[in-house]
């Protein structure tokens, strides 16, 4: 497509307080987008605003706090119908003929139902429990639970579980983020944190780097439509296998890792040529229906001698409950549902911003449907897609989830500032990049501790909230809708979520 000249003002502008700037040039050295430069003739730092993605790296490192990034104040003529973003994107497309690309979750202002739910606490009739003085249990098992107890010749219950399970010390796992989309150091941080926390991280669709097989017991290995990096040892390496059918940020399409992110290590791990775009197909071409899914589930089980639980991950779409019901009967052990606010390393913005449904209603619908059909114990349900805090975790579990995935939250812990430029391979925080001098910026010795800190802090908060409800074991919270009340929701929303409104005494 012929590209013309584009006349757009920069989105951000660098504001430098020259009274504070000491010309240390840290900003210049740290900006991979080449925004800052030092002009010795006039002894001043200059800024090339149009290169700025507002990742806040320079702001964070400036030792004298001389920097601010703000939205460019230049505005098109005010128009509530054609807002700034819509006009800009239109110009860009007219110029390039291309699909608008974005990264991370949708920035648009859709309702967040977590923020419209409130949690209960005990008063008088039932004591709250102090987690500092009493046991407070967050241990969670994921997998099929629906087996009738069997007894041996002496009448004792046979305690060996037929279906493999994942054991988690805390029901928070790290979402699938592939090696390739994020860096070696980011993966190492996630793997080590998962191991220390007694939870799992997820390889995403990019295979498992040979250095990380040792974290296998805390690893979920993913099989996506591109089958990147999938082989026998890989399947056996993890605690569970996840079939990725969909991703919340981009339901209905596959992943796209730009060739510039495919260096020697990523190439070897993914088993694709260096520098080639890694494009996974929109569907699995061996799964055009639910019975095909069953075949893949059992193929993976056969390949691993029925020792690994199989997760089927779908994005939350309109008929998610029916799909989940099909999956629960497909032999899968766990269903992972990714809400439409979930993150991504790269997705067409139109899809990210307009396709799918909120995870809260998807979860409630799936949980209700599986219970109506009496098959809730066939599977565990894990949800993800914009879990922001421990209270979101508590609400998700009370709404019916067995565990949650956190992706964006874990990247934030590693330093991500949500500039949504992951696809550019220039992540100044060393997360979503494969450039060695940028990757180096994420020291995993420190990164993994921040993840451990985050999840440990959430665990403490979860235990506090559980104790307040008079609950000392997470299973008593799971699906416990009475512990939730809606605020500011209409009747239909309350009905779909299966909760009462605040003030209703039931």
């Amino acid at each position: 497509m012929e590209q013309g000249k584009i006349y757009l003002s920069p989105e951000h502008e660098v504001v430098r307080d020259n009274d504070k700037c000491i010309r240390c040039q840290v900003c210049e050295r740290q900006c991979a987008n080449k925004v800052h430069s030092y002009d010795a003739d006039i002894d001043k730092m200059l800024a090339c605003d149009e290169n700025c993605v507002n990742c806040q790296r320079c702001v964070s490192l400036c030792p004298t706090h001389a920097l601010k990034i703000r939205r460019c104040e230049n505005r098109f003529r005010e128009n509530n119908n054609w807002n700034e973003t819509k006009i800009r994107e239109l110009y860009l497309q007219a110029n390039s003929g291309g699909v608008m690309l974005g990264a991370m979750g949708t920035p648009l202002d859709y309702p967040t139902y977590w923020d419209h739910m409130l949690i209960n606490a005990s008063q008088v009739t039932n004591p709250s429990i102090d987690p500092l003085r009493e046991p407070m249990e967050t241990r969670t098992f994921l997998g099929k639970k629906n087996q009738k107890p069997e007894r041996d010749a002496n009448g004792k219950i046979i305690t060996k579980f037929k279906s493999p399970q994942i054991e988690l010390d805390v029901p928070v796992m790290f979402s699938a983020m592939s090696y390739g989309s994020i860096s070696y150091n980011a993966h190492e941080s996630l793997a080590r944190a998962a191991t220390e926390l007694g939870t799992c991280y997820n390889t995403g669709e990019g295979g498992l780097h040979e250095d990380f097989y040792k974290y296998g017991p805390n690893t979920i290995v993913q099989v996506a439509s591109g089958r990147f990096g999938v082989h026998g040892d890989y399947l056996m390496a993890g605690a569970a296998i996840e079939i990725k059918m969909g991703q919340g940020a981009k339901p209905g399409i596959g992943g796209h890792l730009p060739g510039r992110k495919v260096g020697p290590d990523v190439s070897r791990t993914r088993m694709i040529p260096e520098g080639s775009d890694a494009i996974s197909p929109a569907p699995h071409h061996d799964i055009y229906s639910i019975e095909d899914l069953r075949q893949l589930v059992y193929s993976l089980k056969e390949a691993t001698a029925y020792t690994k639980p199989v997760i089927v991950k779908i994005s939350a779409v309109h008929n998610v409950a029916a799909i989940a019901s099909g999956i629960a009967r497909s032999g899968a052990d766990i269903i992972a549902i990714d809400g439409f606010k979930g993150g991504t390393g790269a997705a067409p913005s139109r899809i990210r911003d307009n396709v799918g449904i909120p995870i809260e209603v998807a979860l409630a619908a799936v949980d209700a449907r599986l219970r109506e059909e009496g098959i809730r114990d066939n599977v565990s349900v894990v949800i993800g897609g914009s879990i922001h805090s421990s209270s979101d975790v508590v609400k998700a579990i009370a709404l019916g989830a067995d565990a949650v995935y956190i992706g964006t939250a874990s990247l934030l812990a590693l330093g991500c500032h949500l500039c949504r430029s992951c696809h550019l391979n220039k992540c100044n925080w060393g997360i979503a990049t494969q450039e060695p001098d940028l990757v180096k910026r994420l020291n995993p010795d420190w990164g993994y501790k921040r993840l451990v800190n985050l999840v440990s802090a959430w665990k403490h908060e979860i235990m506090e909230m559980m104790g307040g409800m008079g609950i000392n074991s997470i299973e008593a919270l799971r699906g416990n809708h009475l512990m939730l009340r809606g605020v500011g929701l209409n009747e239909k929303e309350l009905e779909l979520l299966g909760i009462k409104h605040a003030g209703e005494n039931i």
């Binding site: 005990s122 219950i157 512990m483």
Partner: protein, 371 residues
Amino acid sequence: MTSQHIPLEGEVRIPSGCAISGIFHKDGTRENGDRIIRSIELMHDRSNGLGGGFAGYGIYPEYKDYYALHVFYLDANFQKDAENFIKEHFEIANQGEIKTRKMPEITNAPKIWRYFILPLKAKLDSSELDEREYTAQCVFSINTKFDKKAAVFSSGKNMGVFKANAFPEDVGRFYMLDDYEAYAWTAHGRYPTNTPGWWGGAHPFSLLDYSIVHNGEISSYDANRRNVEMFGYKCSLMTDTEVITYIFDYLTRKEGLTLEEACDVVSAPFWSTINLMPDDKKEYYTYLRKRYHALLINGPFSVILGFTGGMLVLGDRLKLRSMVVAEHGGTFYGASEESAIRLIQPELDRVWAPDAGEAVIVRLEERSSKV
């Protein structure tokens, strides 16, 4: 009818505090209701006059092979419909009004009827259910069909529940329990935190021959309810007692667990305790906690579960509700307070408070022929 509608059990979830008491003769000796009434009466201040009741086992020896349905008709117009339903599904060996004593303390009494019944053979066969499941399903039907105006509140064989919306000692005298003889009695005095005033909401709660008296407020209620409702139970009363009864029924009758195993599910030890156990016990508890994760009961409770031939006393895993048990000769006692036992049996061989989550189960001795 009052103009203001006060919600009934089933329309609203009602937490309540309570008193409970139980007597069990291991040798099958039967005694009338006098002592159990006096025991629960001592704990008068633990109830507030908004519900009391009793369950007696071995009270209908002459009809011991029949299910004894006790039914409240809160609106007499529904009696005919309910009876038609019963007749369509069961053979009725005997029926009649349950005798009561007129007392000023008991007001607004509904019609209270009793039916000794057996499932109609043809219906039972075509249902492809076992006799107990068939009966249980029919009880659910009646209790959900008639807008709570006809309520089956007792449905076991050779046992019966007697309850009303009043202080328990008055309830016992109202039903003239000194005319019944049982080898096991349980009693309940209720302290609900609102005033529903519905007779069906009093305790004990029962299903088939299980009857439960319970003191507590379980915080896992909705997690437990939503799980058992997957297996055909309908928690129409929204009380803890109801869901606990269904959990025990589900675990023992449908999953084939022993009562002891069922107790290990609902009052499971903490992981920190399990981790210290020898391997076989560790695996056993881990299995139960994994398999029946949704049936762990959280929050304060102590219960006495009556069943044919036995009695079970169980408390929550933190021991947040009082429970004292005692033995004298072949007789076992359990109550919220020791005084409620000492009153009726001052001399005791042994008195103890079971540990948190510890189940105490007593059963009729093998050779007792008196039942």
